[in-house]
């Protein structure tokens, strides 16, 4: 047999490949689905929100009322520290009789050379 004839015969065989039956394809697919690992679901993780942050912060201080008290005290401290003591008399109606005193009456020595 000549090479050309044999090559033609092999090429013919390649073109006439047996096709699988529907039963075989169904069986293979059924086994594939039966053995397929289950899809991996990623655990849901809710995005952090402003509300959650406030709740966590309130819990840190023992609840929302406690947090409100701490915040109020903080704000009041800032206000009192900012105001001129003379102004305090206006706020308190003279009950505290605030006085001004100079803690360093002769502080010039700090800046004097010599």
């Amino acid at each position: 047999m000549q090479d050309k004839e044999l090559d033609g015969l092999l090429a013919l065989a390649a073109r006439r490949a047996p096709t699988p039956s529907a039963d075989l394809m169904d069986t293979v697919l059924a086994e594939a689905l039966a053995l397929q690992p289950a899809p991996v679901a990623l655990p849901e993780r809710p995005a952090p929100t402003r509300g959650n942050l406030l709740k966590r912060l309130a819990a840190l201080f023992g609840g929302a009322p406690m947090l409100a008290g701490v915040v109020s005290a903080g704000v009041m401290g800032v206000v009192l520290g900012y105001l001129n003591p003379a102004t305090m008399d206006l706020l308190t109606g003279g009950l505290t009789s605030a006085e001004t005193m100079d803690l360093f009456p002769t502080a010039d020595f700090l800046t004097t050379e010599g």
Binding site: Q2, A13, A14, P18, V28, E31, L33
Partner: protein
């Protein structure tokens, strides 16, 4: 998303998708790989369709089982499937030989001349004769010839399937073709080449 039986993601990508639970990947791999394994097994088993279907089903079953451990880049899916099918076919051939050798005598009988001779020499019959002749080759030569000249694999791919070197593949293919030509030389009448020669 459904995948095309031929285009779309590679077989290797489909394996990963399958292992991750993608049902469309299971369908696409079934449609792509099963026909190739069946065709290969049929040629390796001398055209025995029932046994070839068993081999194809078993090969695909092993493919599904190993999918979770599939490592991309190590080998191609079809190469892996051909290798598994080869081993299964060899097991079945050994089992057959213990029961009785299959030879060219098992090829379909031919009518001598007559009005139906032309039909009998159709392409389908030629392929049957070729498959019977392939069955007479030594196992390794038959594997190399089928993979190279019918399944269309490259020599490096065949080397992976057969777990031998490329040079050994070339040698097996060449010797296999020579042996096949020798076997088929006595079958020229059955193949219709003598008639064509006389006609020409």
């Amino acid at each position: 998303m459904a995948y095309d039986a031929q285009d779309g993601p590679s077989d290797e990508t489909l394996m990963v998708l399958y292992a991750n639970g993608d049902r469309h990947a299971a369908l696409a791999l079934t449609q792509r790989v099963t026909p190739r394994v069946l065709a290969y097994a049929a040629r390796m088993l001398g055209g025995d369709r029932a046994e070839a279907e068993d081999v194809a089903q078993e090969t695909m079953l092993r493919l599904w089982r190993m999918a979770p451990d599939w490592r991309q880049g190590e080998t191609r899916v079809t190469t892996w499937a051909y290798r598994v099918a080869t081993n299964l076919c060899i097991d079945r051939q050994r089992s057959r030989r213990r029961k009785g050798h299959v030879t060219l005598d098992d090829a379909p009988d031919l009518a001598d001349g007559g009005p139906s001779a032309e039909q009998r020499l159709q392409d389908g019959h030629r392929v049957e004769v070729l498959e019977a002749a392939l069955a007479d080759l030594p196992d390794r030569q038959r594997q190399a010839v089928v993979l190279r000249h019918i399944e269309g694999l490259t020599n490096p791919e065949i080397a992976v399937v057969m777990e031998i070197g490329v040079e050994a593949v070339e040698s097996l293919t060449a010797r296999g073709k020579r042996a096949l030509a020798a076997v088929l030389s006595g079958q020229r009448g059955a193949l219709g080449y003598e008639d064509e020669g006389h006609a020409g």
